[in-house]
């Protein structure tokens, strides 16, 4: 994470990948307690990851990172779940088969974020989709849209901030 804060994207990606299982486990546990389906847990996971990202500089580098992650995940999770209406839960027996098959852990998708991305400005949407769905780099995205790399970075950062705002304002 130290390397990530210094701007090393690969180190940062690794960091995010390694926290995700923890976030997911906590999110699923909470969702089960609240009677929400697992599919919703992945929405929560994404919202929490976004918060970790936007608040990463609140970690005091002279302290261990564990308590920071635990606290930020807990705070955000409570928020995220509180906003969601309680949904009728489906009896577990009915979905047992689908659950048993399972998807590979890294390949889970969430749907809420797609709705929110749809609410971004057109240019931000295009940039977000280019990088996330098409897997393009900032460089390639810049070339594609005839923008400077700096402009793409700024737009991406703004888009992520806006997404966090949209999550917060969202009432399902």
């Amino acid at each position: 994470m130290r390397a990530a804060l210094a701007g090393d994207a690969d180190a940062y990606r690794q960091f995010l990948i390694s926290v995700t299982p923890y976030v997911r486990a906590v999110a699923r546990h909470r969702c089960r307690i609240m009677g929400a389906p697992d599919s919703e847990a992945e929405d929560v996971v994404q919202e929490v990851l976004l918060a970790v990202h936007l608040k990463r500089d609140t970690w005091d580098q002279s302290r261990p990172i564990g308590p920071w992650i635990v606290a930020i995940v807990r705070n955000k999770l409570i928020d995220a779940l509180r906003r969601r209406p309680r949904q009728a839960s489906i009896p577990i027996d009915d979905v047992m088969d689908t659950l048993a098959q399972g998807e590979p852990e890294t390949d889970l998708s969430a749907h809420e974020i797609d709705v929110l991305v749809g609410q971004l400005k057109t240019q931000q949407q295009a940039i977000v989709r280019s990088i996330s769905i098409n897997g393009a780099s900032v460089r390639q995205t810049a070339d594609r849209f005839h923008m400077s790399e700096g402009a793409v970075r700024v737009a991406l950062h703004r888009a992520l901030k806006t997404l966090a705002d949209l999550y917060r304002k969202r009432t399902l």
Partner: protein, 211 residues
């Protein structure tokens, strides 16, 4: 969107980031400058400050205001970092009114009963109640802007603490202008002025510090 793709998106947005502590420290410096600018442009030191500085009552005002400003500032910084405990800072903050209360008791012994009201009402009540909030606006704004980068578990509380810190900074400047030095005056009017700032801080916290 797959979580994997989101992570890719986040990783691409990873330029070096300034530590929140550094941002906050800058904001505190700006807060002091903002209050100081209003103070020196508007009222300045009291004319007899040199003599006043030799009296215990005058100096004690700063013990109270500075400890309030410092403990509230550190408390709000800690609150804005997930996973960092308040430590002894909530105790330090709670000690400020106790300190003032002790001084009030001492003053009640030192001043004869028929002088209590004169000391309490003083001459500058109206200035105290208007100038402290006025000088606190700039500092509060600086702190709230910086705290938007933080991640306080309780936004309202963080805002209120920022209000206390801003009020403490403003009160420190104001105390060097005001000629009412009795702890009775300080205990009656300063908290009222600072609480007004704290309330504004609380509301701004609820409005601007959610994340």
């Amino acid at each position: 969107m797959k979580t994997h793709d989101l992570i890719e998106l986040l990783a691409q947005d990873a330029p070096p980031r300034k530590d929140f502590g550094a941002v906050f420290a800058t904001a505190v410096a700006l807060a002091v400058i903002a209050a100081g600018a209003v103070f020196f442009a508007g009222i300045g030191f009291r004319p007899d400050i040199a003599q006043a500085a030799e009296t215990v009552r005058f100096l004690f005002k700063f013990v109270v205001t500075v400890s309030l400003a410092v403990s509230a500032t550190v408390a709000v910084l800690r609150l804005s970092r997930p996973g960092v405990a308040m430590g002894g800072w909530s105790v330090a903050l709670a000690a400020v009114p106790v300190l003032l209360g002790g001084a009030v008791v001492a003053e009640l012994f030192a001043v004869p009963r028929d002088g209590w009201m004169t000391q309490l009402v003083g001459q500058n009540m109206r200035f105290c109640l208007t100038l402290i909030p006025l000088m606190a606006i700039g500092p509060l704004a600086c702190l709230i802007v910086a705290l938007r980068r933080g991640a306080p578990a309780r936004p309202g509380l963080a805002g209120a603490l920022a209000g206390l810190a801003a009020g403490g900074i403003a009160a420190t400047f104001y105390a060097s202008n005001c000629t009412d030095d009795s702890p009775l005056f300080v205990a009656a009017w300063y908290p009222l002025a600072i609480l007004a700032v704290t309330a504004v801080g609380f509301i701004s916290g609820r409005l601007f510090l959610r994340w």
